[in-house]
């Protein structure tokens, strides 16, 4: 019983850690809803306490039991993905209607179930969508026609890692709902992408724009973005 409770509490803490500090922009409210209780919210681990061991067969301390699996994390539907993409980048993917069916969208004529498999098809078209929308979002940022959707706290000329990190923290929160602390390892892959020395040894403004686009694509194709 104690083991079961510890597993439940640990699982709740792990999830709570994942979503810690979710306080993204208002448009993130349109992201697919989380199932109540999936993050431990509103649940009391003691609810599982069914009292002292009765000694009857099947009770918790009578041999090994299999811990109950948590709610299975699901991939977004095609429509949810596209809405989420628009929410975080401000840019639609014009080809969405062409590929929505391949990404699993039901037509309710021939196909009545929403496809949720994480497949080659889904990942490829998610990349295509991300590349388009991230490029368009950064173009809009640089042209000043947006309020700084991706490059909100930085400019292509910035090389200062503190400035770069500030924008990266903002993107982690905007795209993934993850509030990151200075030593957070989840930021490292993206910080490395932005700051590593290129083969020709020089980072110019064009390369910085490319790298911010790549970070945006990386966050849209992130497992924490495409699932809930």
């Amino acid at each position: 019983m104690l083991t079961t409770r510890m597993v439940l509490v640990t699982a709740a803490l792990v999830l709570a850690g994942c979503y810690e500090g979710v306080s993204g922009p208002g448009d993130l409210d349109e992201l697919p809803g989380r199932v109540p209780g999936a993050d431990g919210e509103g649940e009391d681990p003691s609810d599982d306490d069914d009292g002292p061991d009765s000694g009857e067969p099947g009770h918790h301390d009578q041999g090994e039991i299999e811990d109950p699996a948590g709610r299975r994390v699901r991939r977004m539907t095609a429509q949810q993905f596209h809405r989420s993409l628009i929410a975080v980048t401000g840019q639609p993917w014009p080809a969405f209607d062409d590929y929505a069916a391949a990404m699993g969208k039901a037509d309710f004529a021939e196909i009545t179930d929403e496809g949720r498999e994480i497949s080659v098809t889904f990942d490829k078209f998610v990349h295509d969508a991300a590349l388009h929308s991230c490029t368009a979002a950064i173009d809009a940022d640089l042209e000043g026609t947006s309020a700084g959707t991706v490059m909100r706290w930085t400019k292509p000329t910035d090389r200062d890692e503190v400035v770069i990190r500030r924008n990266l923290d903002y993107l982690m929160l905007r795209f993934l709902g993850q509030e990151t602390k200075p030593t957070d390892p989840r930021v490292d892959p993206w910080m490395n992408l932005l700051t590593h020395e290129p083969s020709d040894g020089e980072i110019d403004d064009g390369l910085m724009i490319e790298r911010w686009t790549a970070v945006c694509v990386g966050l849209v194709t992130h497992p924490d973005f495409v699932t809930y």
Partner: protein
């Protein structure tokens, strides 16, 4: 293109096969005698193709015709409304017996020697969605909701698929996986021509190769925040899909799916427009390319649509569409038989959600009818006709499961009987089908 041959060698000696072989060797070694060196070569990997004819085909024009020289109390052949080319059935020899095929199946005659023709299959529904769900899994659906796994998923999961980029592909049909590992879940394409889009490289985007490589490196470091207590971690599923996508994009498959560039293929499949994504010829050629390139060994596809002819269009569109579907199927079978002449290691199953009524309705078309047919080419089945419909009415009739002929003490065929038989012939468990396979029909 000769990839398939190499691919089969690869599959034969894949990692899993090697490990399985190692285990078997350890067990068998003490018993090995002089005949050890004479052991047969391991059986090559199995291919499975499922082809769906959407809208309910007319079995009287195809797999279950009647003689127009006779009259039937419960059947209106509508012969006078049909073009002359679509009036006369074809006598075909199957398993030493003359059998009639509908005129739309003429192009399949050279493949009669590898066909098991199931007639009088009770689809138990005349609702399209329910029938579609039924033929997807070969298990009775819950209303319109499919139960269990797609037949393609079941067949794909049976073999060694470690070496495949796309172990299970579904074109124009949903695919289900409830029982097998996530890496064998079907890759769904809504249209055959989407293979070209899938193969469009990411480097067409405004990112240099160096930045793309840096992005991949960063993606590979990502872990995701979901604990495995919550089931399979999305990051692990994504990694499988992403590795396959990268391999797909890097291995130069693009030209294989540029059908227009291959004039020989265009001629062979009778393709008039390579961009006609739903044309049976394009679908069949794409299926072939998926198998030939070694990208997949299991492909399920909607071969043809538009069979739901309730009005006068039945007389023209129905036969024309069935001819187009069967012609494309014949071309595919010819290609498949190049390296597997008797289809010993290949199963091709062709089906529709149900059939069309034997009587012509007031609008000159045919409505929905229970008694359908299923065509199985190869798959280790005994060749010939199994099952029947009532001669006078196209009604369902019980058959002897051993002879396949009408027998009042026998049973009426259901899709799960055929699913279980195909599974058993492939050496797979038949428990999910909850019926006994037709053992007498396994060669």
């Amino acid at each position: 293109m000769t990839h398939r041959h190499h691919h089969r060698l690869d599959a034969r000696f894949g990692r899993r096969s090697f490990l399985q072989g190692l285990g078997a060797s350890a067990f068998l070694l003490p018993f090995a005698g002089a005949g050890w060196a004479d052991q047969e070569e391991p059986r090559p990997a199995q291919r499975y193709v499922g082809l769906y004819c959407n809208g309910a085909w007319d079995v009287l024009l195809g797999p279950d015709p009647r003689d127009p020289a006779k009259s039937y109390t419960g059947i209106d052949l509508g012969t006078n409304a049909l073009a002359s080319a679509h009036r006369e059935p074809i006598p075909v020899m199957m398993a030493g017996e003359e059998v009639l095929w509908g005129p739309t199946m003429a192009s399949l005659v050279p493949h009669a020697d590898v066909l098991t023709l199931f007639r009088g299959v009770n689809m138990n529904t005349v609702a399209h969605a329910a029938g579609r769900a039924y033929v997807n899994t070969f298990l009775p659906p819950s209303g319109v909701v499919p139960k269990g796994d797609s037949m393609g998923t079941r067949m794909a999961a049976a073999g060694d698929y470690d070496d495949l980029i796309l172990p299970n592909v579904s074109v124009g049909m949903p695919t289900f996986n409830q029982s097998f590992p996530a890496d064998v879940t079907g890759v769904r394409l809504s249209l055959a021509t989407e293979m070209r889009d899938l193969l469009q490289p990411l480097s067409d985007a405004p990112l240099s190769d160096e930045t793309l490589a840096a992005l991949r490196a960063a993606q590979d470091e990502v872990e995701g925040c979901v604990h495995d207590q919550y089931g399979t971690r999305p990051v692990d599923e994504l990694r499988i899909a992403r590795d396959r996508m990268r391999q797909l994009l890097s291995d130069g498959y693009t030209s294989a799916f540029d059908l227009a560039a291959d004039s020989e293929l265009i001629t062979r499949y009778g393709i008039t427009n390579p961009n006609a994504a739903t044309a049976p010829s394009v679908v069949a050629a794409t299926v072939w390319r998926l198998l030939e390139t070694g990208l997949s060994r299991t492909v399920t596809a909607q071969l043809q649509a538009g069979f739901d002819t309730h009005g006068p269009e039945w007389a023209t569109l129905q036969p024309a569409r069935q001819v187009a579907a069967f012609d494309a199927l014949a071309a595919l079978l010819t290609d498949l038989r190049q390296d597997d002449p008797q289809l010993q290691d290949t199963t091709v199953v062709v089906f529709s959600e149900f059939a069309r009524t034997p009587k012509i309705n007031g609008r000159g078309g045919r409505d929905h009818h229970f008694a359908s047919s299923v065509l199985v080419f190869g798959g280790g089945l005994r060749r010939g006709v199994c099952g029947a419909t009532l001669e006078e009415t196209l009604g369902l009739v019980a058959i002897d499961p051993i002879t396949g002929r009408p027998d009042p003490a026998g049973k009426v065929l259901l899709p799960e009987d055929i699913g279980a038989t195909i599974a058993a012939a492939a050496g797979l468990p038949t428990t999910p089908f909850r019926v006994e396979p037709l053992d007498a029909w396994i060669a």
